[in-house]
Symmetry: C2
């Protein structure tokens, strides 16, 4: 019984991973900067067919980079996303925020008969103008964000809409895609998504394919 030989060099692991993704994934319909984001999303989940479900506004990368360069905060729906964002890649030591653990959230969720994930979104307002928002878990959080924007909340620069699952994930992303509300966005159609993809999207906006975890 012996563990098989394997690649241990981090740079070589990234090189081989990205090469495999470029060889297998259908990236033809993406601009070069957006293709880099797509590659990072695929790298985070191990599925090259994800490319077929990724939709983004044409100015996504430009808008995301500009926001980060302006010092915009990154707002995450769950701590997993926050911890997947690589702080040293953020160009202006941008704050990376998650308010799910805020002590006000539980009462707010009860009062509004919704999830804690959605309730926290009501606390985002003061950080939201020009922000990069990364939703990697809760469809209800994405729905609530869109409701607040429709109601006149401060407009974020970018919405990375990557909630996952069986109830509302596909529908909330369809709404993001169909009515972009003038906010740049990226989404993965359907049930797939998740915190790893959401943080990978933030890291890609900050650094393209450079800067590894």
């Amino acid at each position: 019984m012996a563990v098989p030989d394997h690649v241990r060099d981090p740079s070589e692991i990234y090189r081989q991973s990205f090469a495999t993704i470029r060889a297998e994934a259908d990236l033809g319909r993406f601009s070069a900067p957006l293709a880099d984001v797509v590659i990072r999303l695929i790298h985070a989940c191990g599925m090259t067919d994800l490319a077929g479900d990724i939709v983004a506004s044409a100015d996504l990368v430009e808008a995301g980079r500009a926001a980060l360069m302006a010092g915009a905060p990154v707002i995450c729906d769950v701590e997993m996303v926050r911890h997947g964002v690589i702080a040293r890649l953020m160009p202006k030591a941008n704050p990376v925020i998650c308010l799910l653990g805020d002590p006000r959230v539980a009462d707010l969720a009860t009062a509004k008969a919704t999830t804690r994930s959605a309730a926290q979104v009501d606390l985002w307002s003061e950080h939201m103008a020009g922000a990069v928002i990364a939703i990697g878990n809760a469809p209800t959080a994405l729905f609530r964000l869109l409701e607040l924007i429709d109601a006149g909340a401060p407009r974020p620069a970018v919405i990375l809409g990557l909630p996952v699952g069986f109830v509302g994930a596909a529908e909330s992303k369809d709404e993001l895609i169909a009515n972009p509300r003038g906010v740049s966005y990226l989404a993965v159609r359907g049930r797939r998504g998740g915190s790893a993809m959401a943080s990978a999207a933030v890291n890609a906006l900050a650094a393209g394919l450079e800067g590894h975890g």
Copy 2:
């Protein structure tokens, strides 16, 4: 422009999610306790076909629960996994540990010409006897864990082997499955895996389908 009506009640969202998974996923080959773990893994990623790639030792749930009830620590390869573990579900306020940020890791990785993820595993020894280990990111960490067990390191109770990606993920999990080294395990064959699945597996061992995030 109006956000569509959608389910906001957390319990109802879970109920509908689990019902969809039971209706669509092929769970027939799993014992009832293991099926609950599989359902939680599928819930974390939105893919009902994941069931076909899940392999586990027959005693996984029993061994995992016994370890947690005995107060065993949960050791995670990345902070994302650690933050996905729901602390209040742990039956003995079990410590949930990630050593990737330990100040010794960078030098250790350089000295051993490996990833930081793998290097940290050399620091797990003092926590490893009887532990629940959750690897949701790095194939090199799983390979290193198996090497250390072969070299006589303290034996964990359970290995949740869910590294993701294109270089070594499938191979490291194949090695875990082929040579379980007497340690209970769960793995997802192939490239899929990730921190959300890894923390979902820990949460499922602690609480089955009860206890939501």
